[in-house]
Symmetry: C2
Subunit: 390 residues, 2 copies
């Protein structure tokens, strides 16, 4: 059974992350959400890197994945760990902060400074909890667009993201086609599959089964659904890897000795690793945010909003696309990426496609994958030349 | 969130299933377990079908999977549902009860009448709970062998099983090679993979995270870890299917209407289906048994007991084997079956191999798969001719 160390901090409610910039939107600037709710006030926390050029043509938006945040290329203030995409974003990296003005914002519904279920509901003076409106990927993109507006940027040079970040990239290209010069969706899909909805539902049920979840009101009641959230994370984590990667990293190796203990302790290394993943996650993530952000992915289905035709969604797009997938990614398999590419081809859009040979599973997009870096660099450099960015 | 209806029955402790036969072993007949424990007294609950012939040469042992039981071809007394392998076992079926004497026993550690963690510990007068010794696949097979001894059967004509049942088939062939005339392991592996251990560990953590689990003492304390066990089952159930099967059966179909409800209700059909699977399971299965039986699978690694060589384990075997796998089974993929076949070839054993084309995932072995039935029938009929069974 997992044991949780005494917590170093109080439950994380809405705290303005002092290391992030925050854009606030008042009562006259509500976020119009797909659910029909006009959310106000609301705010979006973000990081920037590099310098916006004079004609504001070099802005790159990075979209983060399910449990990511805005700290793409700086130390994370909560975990103290390096930014989550240092391999891709930084000086001299494919998304070169010496050339581009890079923006990364925490998604709406998140828990790193952007308004979400842990934020204070002005109507009650308490955290929203489940009174927070259900969020969609399109809502996330709307919030980012409002931020970009405020920053005075008319058109993004590139929108980049993996997994749920890739969903946002696709949504940007559909919702704001003329504001996206180039788009780089990685390890993603134009709609969430039944199997992926199923995995998310198990995670949500694990959270909601924890009596400390208190129907979502744990912040008010001073409890913390750590065990449920840890179980959710453990299950999800398996789907981010591949059978090959697990076999290579852990195999059937025992934790402390060569023989089984004949107990329910973490006998195998893989068990110990997963327990650690679960425990570490609950220290940095809000349980209700986990419900909301997984739900947003479940609802994602671009074609559904365009008469069932993905090609129709992209029709007339002037955006240049590069789609990247990984051979061992079974959560967002190459077939999902091919469906995007086929639709873009049918819509006569400009698109390149790279399937990277990797045994690291879905997580490959966050890891050391030279073929991905080369593809991203080549695509971005070519697009920058066309746009005349030095 | 899942809602559990008022329970129709008390928590299931060790109850002699009146519809099953029970073989009892006294203090002088302990079960010598891999953990070093000599378990006594103990008992094994089983069903039989058909008639043992005069020379006792027509006995077929069916080994059940993780959450299966002895009710392979009769209505289940707990659920009221038909036997779990009526397609394979019965009059005129591939395992033809008009020709063969078929035995199916609940595994040691189970909860359908065979001694397990819900059984009374004679040392305390209370259910064993976690004081029950950890069980291995070899322990399950030892218990079955003791039953077969008592039934006066020297040699089994055939041992048949899928998934964990297939593990028992392999263990029978290794532990009691001269007592197994033919063996039919289906959708199984000679060792449990790191990924499968990982999925099991998530399920166990879900059970143990439920405060009603009470460190395993829920029967004594009158609680019931239903929510945790349901979450475990939901997660496991996904792994029994395939992405194709889920897409075909459910796709992204909404439950009640064509639009999302923007809530955490079971919006999608797949969510509703999974919740039902979870709720139905806890009505029929003991939570601690779930821990023990998953653990037995995790520990399974035949080669490890033979210097790392699977071929060595099968060396000199006179048993005839037929190995069956399914193309869409990602829990026990064809590569696992091929490893068994290669080892049997290296051991110069008699082996046939059939990979059945199916999109139904791991569960295919329980479903309508004519190609599997034909392969099983052909193999069993040929073996019966060699053994001279009418």
């Amino acid at each position: 059974m997992m044991s949780f160390a005494p917590l170093s901090s109080e439950p994380r409610s809405q705290v303005d992350d002092p290391s992030s910039l925050v854009m606030r939107f008042g009562a006259d600037e509500p976020l119009m959400m797909d659910s029909g709710v006009a959310l106000s006030p609301w705010q979006i926390a973000y990081q920037t890197y590099g310098t916006l050029n004079a004609d504001k043509s070099n802005a790159v938006l990075i979209c983060h994945a399910l449990t990511g945040d805005q700290h793409v290329a700086n130390d994370n203030p909560v975990t103290g760990k390096p930014g989550w995409w240092l391999t891709m974003v930084g000086p001299g990296k494919p998304v070169d902060t010496d050339r581009f003005f890079v923006i990364c914002a925490n998604v709406i519904g998140g828990c790193m400074g952007t308004t979400g279920p842990a934020s204070i509901n002005p109507a009650t003076g308490e955290p929203y909890a489940l009174d927070f409106p259900v969020v969609t990927i399109r809502d996330m993109v709307r919030a980012q667009a409002a931020l970009i507006d405020k920053l005075g940027i008319e058109s993004l040079f590139c929108v980049v993201g993996g997994s749920m970040g890739g969903m946002q990239v696709l949504q940007w290209a559909v919702s704001y086609s003329n504001r996206v010069f180039s788009a780089l969706p990685i390890a993603t899909a134009a709609r969430h599959s039944a199997q992926n909805i199923a995995f998310h539902e198990v995670g949500r049920q694990a959270v909601m089964a924890d009596p400390e979840w208190r129907s979502g009101r744990y912040l008010v009641e001073g409890t913390r659904p750590s065990k449920g959230l840890a179980v959710a994370r453990m299950g999800a984590h398996i789907t981010y890897l591949s059978e090959m990667a697990l076999h290579r990293k852990f195999g059937r190796n025992f934790q402390d000795r060569s023989a089984p203990t004949f107990s329910f302790d973490a006998d195998f290394q893989i068990e110990s690793y997963l327990r650690y993943q679960g425990i570490a996650f609950v220290e940095r993530f809000d349980a209700n945010s986990y419900l909301y952000v997984t739900r947003a992915m479940d609802y994602f289905d671009i074609a559904a909003e365009h008469g069932g035709s993905l090609a129709k969604a992209f029709k007339g797009s002037a955006t240049r696309f590069c789609v990247i997938s990984f051979t061992s990614d079974w959560l967002f398999p190459t077939s999902d990426s091919r469906a995007i590419v086929h639709a873009l081809n049918a819509a006569a859009a400009s698109v390149g496609f790279v399937e990277v040979e990797s045994d690291k599973g879905h997580d490959a997009f966050l890891l050391e994958e030279p073929e991905m870096f080369a593809a991203a660099r080549g695509f971005i450099d070519a697009a920058a030349r066309v746009r005349g960015i030095a």
